[in-house]
Amino acid sequence: MLTEVTLTLGVLTAVAGAVAGGLGAMLGIGGGVFLVPALVQGLGVPMPQAVAVSLTTVIATSNMVSAEGNPEAINMRLGLVIELATVVGGLTGSLISAYVPARHLMLLFSGVLITMAVLTFARRDHRNNLPASADVGGWGGRFVDARTGQLVAYRVRRLPLAVGVSFVAGNLATMLGIGGGVVKVPVLNGWCGLPMRVAAATSAFMIGLTATSGALIYFGRGVMLPALAASAVVGVRLGSPIGLRVGQRQPPRRLKMALAIVLLVAAGLMLRRLP
């Protein structure tokens, strides 16, 4: 375990945090999919400490996007329902993680990323936007698309699927130091009727909560190295506004392609350095 953070390690962690925050804010994921491999393989941080740092950056990205992004696109009621399943999953994941070897965690991480990349790519042209006057049902909503300036409506479908996937995402999130957005965004957009921007904004709101339960446990166990976490968070603060602006100007298809590529690259990095 690391006990000291040198200036060089702090600066490099901040740079990795800025990239993770930029990608996270753009795609509605926490950025942990990039940060964990960067810390473990690039900077030699032990996996449990990398996971703990990553959870704090997920919270930072979530706070930033929820406060300064497009709050109108967040479906708060749906978010609360599926977040309940996620935090329960997060709690079980944090209890299990202490007993799972790092190699198994890394293999699991890579497998999830590759699966989600393939699913995202396969559904890249799928759209859920309805005319503004459409009936949105009990869980749907309307929002103004920042890119087109148009009012868009959507209906929520397959709520039990969203809840089930969120429980699994919560488990993975806490075990792997990710926000779970990499699992939720593709499913919410591909199968549950949410437009990409709503899926990303709602996910960004939820991932902060998911990461909170895990971060508190790592914090309590003394795994969290405050200076390392602080370096990454300062980086996130610099990178996420850029990612947010870039993301709002891109068409959904391009965002999905970017998400699939990020997932594959992160999986490849992790597989290359299996212990």
Binding site: V5, L7, G10, T56, I59, A60, S62, N63, M64, S66, A67, E68, P71, M76, R77, L80, V81, E83, L84, V87, V88, G90, L91, S94, L95, F205, G208, L209, A211, T212, S213, G214, A215, L216, I217, Y218, F219, G220, R221, M224, P226, A227, A229, A230, S231, V233, V234, R237
Partner: protein, 86 residues
Amino acid sequence: MMARLFVLNGWVSTVLLAAGLAASWRPGPAWSVPLLYAGLLLLILTPVTRVLVAGVRYLRAGQHGPASLAGAILAIIALSAWLGAR
């Protein structure tokens, strides 16, 4: 009003963390630790505050379903904190 408060909260935690980092790399008294812990705590508690505010708003609007969900989420996070502290 609340949105502005959350934005301000984000900046305050960042400033505390940056100040703590700067202090940790300078020789002298170790007052970086309280700054780092305060910044991290403020950061980690922001999503919790957001759900608390949403829950109170739903309760005031008479929407007991979403208010209960918010309460349940907060209870599980509190349980996490307790497990972490054990």
